[in-house]
Symmetry: C2
Subunit: 201 residues, 2 copies
Amino acid sequence: MQTSSLLESLMEALRCLPGVGPKSAQRMAFHLLQRDRNGGLNLATTLHQAMTAIGHCEDCRTFTEQARCAICANPRRQHSHQLCVVETPADIVAIEQTGQYSGRYFVLLGHLSPLDGIGPKDIGLDLLEKRLANEQIDEVILATNPTIEGEATANYIAEICDEYQTVATRIAHGVPIGGELEMVDGTTLSHSFIGRQKIEI
Amino acid sequence: MQTSSLLESLMEALRCLPGVGPKSAQRMAFHLLQRDRNGGLNLATTLHQAMTAIGHCEDCRTFTEQARCAICANPRRQHSHQLCVVETPADIVAIEQTGQYSGRYFVLLGHLSPLDGIGPKDIGLDLLEKRLANEQIDEVILATNPTIEGEATANYIAEICDEYQTVATRIAHGVPIGGELEMVDGTTLSHSFIGRQKIEI
């Protein structure tokens, strides 16, 4: 942008957002300047607050500006004595939206990946062990991603749970609802056969 | 997001950006928190500066934090005595990228639209008249959009130019380069016949 260096800086800065290239950045900058300066100022303030104030929950490691997140601090969440292990805070959002689960969470913020130098401590498994030792947790639900790394991480955590005599379960793999069977890949279909369940009448 | 109200505010604030819905806002917020806090802080600072400091060039009305934009202030831009009229600052970027034009610009920041109450003063035509009266402008190139409103605006400005004995030209409408003739709509094809030019050998 040859007319203003500050506008150029703004377009450059907007590109830190995922999925925003030069064209989108230009469109966003012009939109804010032309139509929504208050929105832009509000975004600037909130962004600054969020980037400086949001840290990790000391219990479950998800993002929060409090010491403990709203889920961990909620006494109702502790009745079930269940702990669901996920890879990212976004997974919590997805699971919460189902309304199926009312226990607490533990966020790994990644998965085991020895080749990248990511070991058990980097994904907070020392903290998880402490919780298994000190709290009453009856079941650990392993909801890591259905990838090779996610499966390996789930198995590793299941072994830790075994040491503490805690039941570890893995979320079911199978045919997604609403799809067509012939479109489902072979590995998923195999899993759906292995994981078949008796129909109770 | 049930774990943090500040995170929820951030997602809400990000939605002021065009083309950003709830899912993208969530993805952006998590990306910045997890991988690029410095980028987020830099964006917050630049955004605040841009929203407060960027105004309009007193000559051409494009966005700039100076009194006059870099193009208007550039003495080389004044040799051609040409003035290109565009609807938005983004149009300047597109024209500059062609490298075809070395004159100055005038930005309407809209187009005439009597039904919406947008009259000549709202698109700065009083300022344009002052420039026509006081500066030496040999040609006004009308590069408004090829829409009904854009054409009407171009015609209106051409009449003003006529009063000041200034030549007004309209950018050519026709078949876009690289397309296929059979795919081009009828109106454009008609324009390309009306605007045909003699091949000079």
